[in-house]
Symmetry: C2
Subunit: 520 residues, 2 copies
């Protein structure tokens, strides 16, 4: 096996660092293309100084100062995070407001997928019976009932993909009237209305919990119409404390009886051809490394542009991973109002973190640093690229439900499982997740397409990663190639023609709510 040629990747002509692409990194003494000689061993995905950088000088990547040199750094040196001062966060005043007017994007027409059309106009990519729970107290009984539904009922309803208990840790023992309690409550409400659940809402309630069913799903929140009367259908609630329940099995039987009504309706549905504009894609990254911003995230960004051109909805998220690029985002906002909404979300999160005596720098992980990401500024620049180049047409508060198409900033924590939970609430019907270090992330409610940033990871995790964007660093594919591959895979997965690896193995992460309010 011949040694591959040394390969370094710079993101912008003005950058004074590049990252080493080779598996295993490069040893000191390596001569890079162009003649620069490495002074240190540089691990894969880590940065090398392309020129001498004086003490206090800006270290530039993505044409942004990701830090300032603590000491002078000679060309050819390994630029690791201990050599950098992190810049202050960009102040939230004086930002460019909707100043970028990109040329209109050419519409992308003729792409379709096979989806489940819902009564409210949304489209599901899966046909799932979801069982909403008001409170953690009922989780054990509901899990017991779901096992029986899967064993006894589901085989009789072959057009239903799955039955999913929407378990969570909220609902009682919480300060439900605290101002910030609106976030977890609307998250749970809106998850119940996710397009993959076909508009069939059934609730298991305890009875004495703070989050009463009528508070979770007040009249009017569910677009359910009784077909016989054309009136708003009553909320379908199984209340365990109902006096009619005598004995445990009577509760289980109530849940099965109600589930069967919904299964019958779900089972009558069929996929139909719908335009690609019905995709509602949530993108996020997790277990990131310095390749995330070089391979997988730019490919996702290219695909985001394709989706927006096709009239679809794409959400990007992760507040602490865009905070340092807020000026790029406000500039790209479609209107000054959208720019202001972006600023409002950043300001809210800054204050939230400050209450806990931390700031955005709490985001980076040991794995990020091992993976070559020096700090949150560098990580953010690589994260933000998932959003492509389209104007930002809207902003969603955490847990809110989408009401528009195009590129939307859905404000969420960067935590993979919390971000995914909030994107489900927004109405996501397909999830794209890029990873450099590797994570077996999956959701029960929605297919998750996982994109590896490195070929090494894609090879080792061959039955967990759905797309290998590492081929971009290997020189075997362009960003455009991988972006198109991802776009086509999305249509296949959305249509149910392909399963993701997470679906194949039934790997499901928990719903983890964002609750900025106290518990009691």
């Amino acid at each position: 096996m011949s040694t591959p040629a040394p390969l370094c990747i710079a993101m912008h002509a003005a950058d004074n660092v590049a990252i080493v692409a080779n598996d295993g990194g490069l040893p000191a003494g390596t001569v890079l293309p162009g003649g620069l000689v490495l002074l240190d061993k540089v691990p894969q995905a880590h940065k090398v100084a392309l020129v001498d950088i004086p003490e206090g000088g800006a270290v530039r990547r993505y044409n942004v100062a990701i830090g300032y040199a603590i000491q002078s750094i000679a060309a050819g040196s390994w630029v690791h995070e201990r050599l950098l001062h992190m810049p202050e966060a960009r102040a939230l005043d004086g930002l460019p407001m909707a100043t970028v007017k990109p040329p209109a994007m050419e519409p992308l027409e003729g792409y379709t997928f096979e989806g489940y059309r819902n009564a409210d106009g949304s489209v599901g990519t899966r046909n799932i019976l979801a069982i909403t729970q008001t409170v953690q107290c009922v989780a054990g009984v509901t899990a017991f009932a779901v096992q029986r539904i899967k064993a006894e009922l589901l085989p009789r309803y072959p057009h239903v993909d799955d039955v999913v208990a929407l378990e969570h840790g909220y609902g009682c023992g919480v300060a439900i009237d605290a101002p910030d309690a609106a976030v977890p409550i609307r998250t749970l409400r809106n998850i119940s209305l996710n397009p993959n659940f076909g508009g069939e809402v059934m609730v298991v309630s305890l009875g004495c919990e703070k989050l009463q069913p009528e508070r979770l799903l007040p009249p009017g929140s569910i677009p359910l119409v009784d077909q016989r009367t054309l009136q708003q259908a009553p909320l379908d609630v199984v209340c365990l404390q109902d006096e009619a329940h005598v004995g445990f099995m009577s509760m289980v039987e109530s849940i099965l009886r109600q589930a069967e009504e919904h299964l019958e309706r779900l089972n009558a549905r069929r996929r139909e051809t719908v335009p690609a504009s019905e995709l509602v894609v949530g993108v996020q990254c997790g277990g990131s490394d310095a390749f995330s911003g070089v391979t997988a995230n730019p490919a996702v960004g290219f695909c985001t542009d394709l989706l927006v051109r096709a009239g679809a909805t794409v959400m990007f998220s992760e507040v602490t991973e865009v905070r340092d690029g807020i000026d790029q985002l406000t500039a790209r906002a479609a209107t000054p109002e959208v720019a202001q909404a972006l600023i409002d979300q950043m300001a809210w999160y800054d204050a939230y973190l400050a209450r806990g005596r931390v700031d955005r720098s709490a985001n980076t992980t040991p794995g990020n640093k091992q993976g070559g990401l020096s700090n949150i500024v560098e990580k953010a620049m690589g994260s933000i690229v998932k959003s492509g180049t389209a104007p930002i047409s809207g902003v969603l508060a955490p847990g809110a439900k989408l009401a528009q198409k195009g590129l939307v900033y859905a404000a969420t924590p960067a935590s993979d499982f919390i971000c995914g939970t909030l994107q489900l609430a927004a109405g996501m019907n397909l999830h794209v997740f890029t990873t450099g270090r590797g994570t077996p992330y999956g959701l029960a409610a929605c297919p998750v397409i996982k994109v590896a940033t490195r070929s090494d990871l894609a090879r080792r995790w061959h039955d967990l990663m759905d797309v290998n964007a590492g081929r971009i660093a290997d020189g075997q594919a362009s960003i455009e190639d991988v972006g198109w591959e991802l776009f086509r895979l999305m249509l296949d997965v959305a249509s149910g023609r392909r399963k993701t690896w997470a679906e194949h193995w039934k790997l499901h992460n928990a719903l983890v709510l964002f609750n900025p309010a106290p518990v009691t």
Copy 2:
């Protein structure tokens, strides 16, 4: 069927209200024993005024002013929560510090149970393989592996009761260096060391997460000794990102291989006779009503005294449910230092709630109010009685591990699932849970004995409630009778001779961590 006689229960001779005990409440016009005539229909468990109470007058229950009359209330009226002003919280200065010197309690000797003695001296009531997880990211893979362990391995190890994945929503995407992050981290650490897990600690880690295995379980935190070398055994970690893992099944096989080592050791253990002093009992109440403080909680309190006399450990918890009785607790503290530690926990929680712009009154639920509890003061007086009469010998911060016996105040939120999670971390090997409205609460790691406050609930939930304390209100048993019944049942359950209903149905609530720090 003859109509039962009207029955009202007052808690103290100085009280000016009593609660109606009869199923279905009592109609207006009912003549109570003693001649008082009801002016209103009074629901079961709700309060009736025993005398005329002037506007502004104190409404006394448990010999405490649970509120002040908003308007004058005539004798025989229904005293519901809308008629009461809630008192301010007791200030945390000037409290009586260890002023009560109760007569020494007579030791209770000769009671034993059959338990699993651990290397660190603690005793398990169950023999469970727990799989610790550093982060939610690995939950799907671990759940897959646990299914295979249960199907393929567990049948070969008949002395092992269960395999439990310690799933949680923490570990990454969190501000891990925030001051309050110490709470969830020590909670997870100490749960891994719960006596029911036999000292066998195995960890599944992703690799890039913030909560690295060495941070979760630093050297010295596990009392594991390699029997060949008598050195500290290395932490047993399966890291999914390990380069040796090629393909999903290689990760699963790694977990199975490691699990088998621990299963072999656990399977070699046998129960032995140990004194009742090895019980570590967590008591809490959930879904409370006005009977909680009349029947179930006093019976638990009597049993708490029995346990303390037997040399065992009893934890009571739920900060917002003792806050209004802090003067009783500081007075009962064994030393002024313990009293101060109580005050410190109350002050910390007051500040925590204030940061979220709420206070202790956020505790009560719709079910509490329907159940006759007017406010948190009344609820607290009924909750605190679970602690019996013994001196308080120690105070635990949330998530900390017990280091002493006797009656301990373990500070936790009142949320049932969060309180239970924190009591597991403290080292609980048996859980007692009282409920008036009814909850099917259970834990995978520890038996939960559920005590009903009302006979009506005990009858309807006959295969979920383990003890019926409602017989106290029915006049069929005394507090002492039920306290002794509970004590004997505890020894049977701890010995594995009896299963709780939650164990019978395998009803498990999730571990829900108390994380007062921000997520990122």
